[in-house]
Amino acid sequence: MSDRVEVWTCSYQAPEVAHRFISRSGETYTVEPAEPRPIGTQLRLILPPSFPAICERAAERNDFALGQTLRKLFTTLRDHGALYEQAEIGVAAAKLARARGSTVVSAMYLEEVEAIVPQPRQPKRITEALQTQRPLSRGSAMPLAEAELIDALTDDPERNLELQELRAALRELGVVLSVRSSEEYQIELDDDESPVRGIYAFLAVPGEVETAAVLSCLQSATANWLAPVTYRGLLKALGMADALARQEQWADRVRL
């Protein structure tokens, strides 16, 4: 995030001397004696002109890439016979996600941890971390604060068919669908019509499944839904700029 970093420091162990560390790339650095200073450290970051733009990027833009990196890490660890490291990394990732304001993603990571290490095999530290973090991760900036896992949208079996068909189609690919909603999550499709209940869903996609196949399945299974389903992360990952723009326009319109 910086073009150049300078550290001017003086140790309590040798208060008569100070040093300056300078690095431009992060890969090389210099250290030299510097003018005296009080005990302590001054860190100066020379910021690139692009810094304000970087700051304005929404954290969630990174969630998709971070999730992919995390899953690759899980797979590698599992392939090397690791038992609990994945869970510990997952818990740490959930904590980081929450720190950047992505509470929904944080909740998703915690769910993955629970799937990796089922309750009877959980070491105490993992159980404790899950118990501490779960309540903090469920809340969300979206109206999902009280969201529950759901299998059906209504009590009317006819109206639930679409969701069941989507679930079945994804299962054919080996993808698991986890759907959430709440009474508060209402979407206004049109000013003249009463709002409809919205859902928010996570897909657990095995590493070997092609992203394009998941997209194709989502597109065909939800083509006739009352309101379009958005999957902007997928479109972004596949570089489908036009479709992404349409979904973003829709998301803005109904204030997703």
């Binding site: 890969e27 250290v31 005990i39 970051l45």
Partner: protein, 116 residues
Amino acid sequence: MTASLQKTKVDFAGLMRVLGEALYSTPHVAIRELVQNAYDSCTRRALEAADRFEPAIAVTVAPGVLTITDNGAGLTAEEIHSYLATVGAGYTRALREQGAKGLIGYFGLGFLSRSP
């Protein structure tokens, strides 16, 4: 062909990029890490140094420059090489493993956050 023990190679630039992107998704998180370093440095001075001091951390922003100043333990030249310039080597972890309380850093990655 006989088996031979080879040393794993590390693509340093790639590793820095992956770690930077995966750990620090926004500059805000990266800046928080640097402030945490300053906090841990003050904790270290309180634990190790004999003198009494009032811990202080200041973050100032000028156009194009962000400055974080602390009156913590500071670093010797040797510590700069060992901890500041070595990714994954954190002095805080060593302190924590000796039973020190009130520290934040762990993996020796906080300073990496300022890398391009």
